[in-house]
């Protein structure tokens, strides 16, 4: 086994991982950084983010407004002190990225431009056309090349964490090109592996988004927090689930049902006006819009297509010139994948799974309960998204908390001595034997793809936009069954070089653990809040019993144990979450009652 001695290890080379790596390098150039990623960093799923990244920019905006939008949008399940820190850091981090070369779209006088986004009171979403994540990721990746202390392990697949004496001591990774194992030793580890949307059938996520880091931390006793909150993005391509950014609506797009009617006005989001009004209609939050779609479908007011019911995303009135300038990628996706010219015809869309609000439990400084283990980005639950993330907060999260995680990991690594090398190596060798065992397994004939598809289907059936105890229970049972059947999984490919069959099996095992955490957390939350909506007697938010975070604890060979932790409320008491005209009224009442 190869051994590499680092000081700080970062697992995941997307936006959060790269930002963390740069933060470590800037905090202390003497620290050796290992950046371990299963793909070349620029392939990471940050690349697919489209619409933009939030940070207060306009004179009419304020940190309080961004705070309130985020906390209300999260249905008060946010850590308010962490949100307060977050909103105070976004603009500086976005400006830093501007200095590093990110091609932000500009106003005529050369300032960075901002656009409207769902659930945001004031325009504060920085954007680079509709390829914001792509540009942020490439800017971070290319900038990271400046720092000689960052040693990249590209296309190295992390298979376990090494924990010695209750403290992190390293990671074990497979070099994909050779199938060889490497032990990377280090005194601090930042997990930045992204979300887990691929556990669902129809999703916007890339193939790499398999919850690896969540499962790794979880198996080592770190709870996964708020995993029942899974975001359905309302405007996705039928069949493939590919994303049509919320910026389509930020720029003025309409959502129409089969009668050409802007149906969102029937769901407390009106009034319908010809131009976008922030926090109303098409600029409502994602959970509400996906829920409205579900009701339209129940009422028979959607359009039947070859891949299920759809509604229309109508951009025609924006005109080809504006669409080509502001939404060039969307234009091409519609043309190439659907044969639709969005300047001439509406785009058929339906909701698809997009984002994992929950994740690895960390405090406001990105530290998990396991000493030396940090997490940032979608894999983590630092507490800013609550029960529903607002669009454009997650890209800013990568920057703000990627940096925090890197700085904290650097500080921790400098404060402790390395673990005993012999014991660490022995552990790594045991990991190697276990993981080779998955490849060599001859017990059964279960196909990886069959298990994966059954998992994705049962997650959609039980943990979709609306949920019932009965179907959630079926999903829990099905996942238990799939975990049993996984023991008989057959990796057809027994070779070493580029054995992606083997890697898919390992990913599937990660996914099954994460899916269980989601389903069991969901069935135990007997209320409706944000993206977790029930139709079986728990239709209301219940602050008495459930204004608290769920925490799923891994139980080897069994179902997760679910318990709860407190929510930190500082300055925003839970109130009515309303949008459109009703939202404006509620805000006036709140102001009046607070004097």
């Amino acid at each position: 086994m190869e051994i590499y001695k680092a000081d700080v290890i970062i697992v995941g080379g997307g936006g959060a991982g790269l930002r963390a790596a740069i933060a470590v390098a800037e905090a202390d150039p003497a620290l050796k950084i290992a950046l371990v990623s299963k793909v070349y960093p620029m392939r990471s799923h940050t690349v697919a983010a489209e619409g933009g990244s939030a940070g207060v920019k306009k004179a009419s905006d304020s940190l309080d407004y961004h705070f309130n939008d985020t906390v209300h949008g999260g249905d008060w399940l946010c850590e308010q002190d962490v949100v307060e820190y977050f909103v105070s850091r976004c603009t500086e981090e976005l400006t830093q990225l501007e200095h590093w070369g990110c091609p932000w779209s500009r106003t005529e006088d050369g300032h960075v431009n901002v656009r409207a986004f769902g659930g945001m009171k004031i325009e504060r979403t920085w954007f680079a056309a509709d390829k914001t994540g792509f540009h942020m990721l490439h800017t971070l990746f290319q900038t990271s090349i400046k720092y000689p202390s960052i040693k990249r392990f590209d296309e190295h697949f992390c298979v376990d964490l090494i924990v010695e004496d209750k403290r992190i001591a390293g990671v074990v990774a497979i070099e994909i090109a050779s199938g060889e194992f490497t032990l990377v030793e280090g005194r601090a580890v930042v997990i930045a592996t992204g979300g887990a949307g691929r556990v669902f059938r129809e999703n916007t996520n890339g193939g790499v988004v398999t919850g690896d880091g969540m499962a790794l931390a979880y198996r080592h006793g770190v709870p996964l927090r708020d995993m029942e909150f899974v975001q359905y993005h309302p405007t996705c391509m039928p069949g493939t689930g590919l994303l049509f950014t919320e910026a389509c609506r930020g720029e003025g797009g309409f959502l129409l049902n089969k009668d050409g009617y802007r149906y969102l006005q029937d769901y407390g989001l009106g009034p319908a006006e010809p131009t976008p009004r922030n926090k109303a209609m098409e600029l409502g939050p994602r959970d509400r819009l996906s829920q409205a779609f579900w009701y339209e479908q129940q009422k028979g007011r959607t359009i039947e297509g070859p891949h299920g019911s759809v509604v229309h995303l109508d951009l025609r009135h924006l005109g080809e010139e504006k669409l080509r300038e502001r939404l060039p990628q969307i234009y091409e996706l519609a043309e190439q994948f659907l044969g639709v010219d969005p300047a001439l015809a509406p785009i058929p869309v339906r909701p698809a799974v997009h984002y994992t609000m929950g994740g690895i439990l960390v405090d406001g400084r990105c530290a998990s309960p396991l000493a030396g283990l940090y997490a940032a980005g979608e894999c983590s639950s630092v507490g800013i998204h609550g029960a529903n993330r607002l669009g454009s907060n997650s890209l800013s999260e990568l920057l703000v908390f990627g940096r925090v995680a890197g700085e904290e990991a650097a500080r921790f690594a400098s404060s402790v001595a390395p673990a005993a090398p012999a014991s660490v190596l022995a552990q790594a060798q045991a990991v190697e034997q276990r993981v080779l065992g998955i490849r060599q397994n001859t017990r059964g004939n279960e196909r990886i793809a069959t298990l994966r598809k059954e998992m994705a289907q049962t997650m959609e059936d039980g943990c979709g936009i609306y949920r019932l105890a009965e179907t959630m229970q079926k999903t829990c049972d099905k996942l238990d069954e799939l975990k049993e059947r996984f023991k008989n999984v057959r990796v057809e490919d027994k070779s070493s070089v580029w054995n992606t069959d083997w890697l898919l099996a390992i990913e599937l095992e990660y996914q099954l653990d994460v899916a269980q955490a989601m389903a069991y957390s969901a069935i135990n939350r007997r209320e409706s809040r944000g993206a977790h909506q029930r139709l079986d007697g728990f239709e209301q938010r219940d602050d008495v019993n459930f204004l608290k975070h769920s925490q799923a604890h891994y139980v080897a060979g069994g179902a997760p144990r679910i318990d709860y932790g407190p929510v930190r409320i500082t300055k925003s008491q839970p109130g009515t979450r309303a949008y459109g005209a009703a939202g404006e009224k509620a805000e006036q009442e709140r102001k009046a009652s607070h004097g």
Partner: protein, 251 residues
């Protein structure tokens, strides 16, 4: 009413360094629907016919740059190339040309990564600023100078299209030149002089024979041939200015 499900033949170039001396082809019959991409066809093979087939993919929407392949001999992103454009004929998929094959459809990328790292692909500030000083001003016209060259997804189709790279793998090539140009013409950057040394070198832009196929296959309209040719002019000017100016050309 039940029709026979349609199928399409996908011919795949296979190579496994642990088993094969040379690459060989294998044909698979895959269920066909007219919204299926070539990538989805290849995924079907892996999921249901032969789990040992190796290829890279992720985003499925032509932005991550992973899934480049030769499709009927043309460098293409398999996620945005559709089987319907070939049906009912057989489709042939191979690893991208001009690169070493690591296995099946997977090419070795280290050479490209080395080139990308060598061009200093980051802002070398003309006038350093701290975040507290706010953003650099950059007009939409200044942005337009480099925006198209910043849209490269590193999919390497242009290298598979470039006959000169095929002959000389150390040629810096289209994508890396486009990226170099992207930073050189960014109004915030002052690092052009450092980067021009590479352009002027033996592996620099003069290897290009202006075939232009790189720009034709580019899925993101980066037009690397344009970047290469602008740099030929820059490089020539830079070369001659070295004799005239004591500080050198591009400074």
């Amino acid at each position: 009413m039940a029709e026979h499900p349609k199928t399409i033949e996908i011919e795949v170039l296979r190579y496994h360094p642990e088993k094969d001396k040379t690459p060989h082809t294998q044909v698979f019959e895959v269920p066909f629907t007219d919204d299926m991409s070539v990538l989805q066809g290849v995924q079907y093979i892996k999921d249901y016919l032969d789990g040992s087939l190796s290829f890279r993919w992720s985003c499925r929407m032509a932005i991550c740059g992973s899934c480049g392949m030769m499709i009927n001999g043309i460098p293409s992103l398999s996620c945005q190339t559709f089987l319907r454009d070939y049906y009912p004929a057989r489709v042939r998929v191979e690893a991208l040309a001009h690169f070493p094959i690591e296995r099946d459809l997977v090419i070795g990328m280290e050479g490209f990564i080395d080139k990308l790292e060598s061009i200093q692909p980051y802002i070398i500030p003309k006038e350093p600023r701290t975040p507290a000083q706010g953003e650099y001003l950059q007009t939409p016209e200044q942005l337009a100078q480099y925006e198209q060259f910043s849209s490269c997804i590193n999919c390497l189709l242009c290298y598979a299209a470039c006959p000169q790279f095929g002959l000389n793998p150390s040629f810096i090539g289209p994508a890396a030149t486009a990226l170099l140009h992207r930073y050189n013409v960014d109004s915030r950057d002052g690092g052009k002089a450092e980067r021009m040394e590479l352009i002027n070198s033996e592996e620099g832009v003069f290897n290009c024979t202006a075939v232009g196929y790189c720009s034709e296959v580019c899925p993101k309209h980066v037009d690397p041939a344009n970047a290469v040719n602008q740099n030929k002019t820059n490089s020539a000017a830079d070369y001659f200015l070295r004799f005239l100016s004591p500080k050198g050309g591009a400074k």
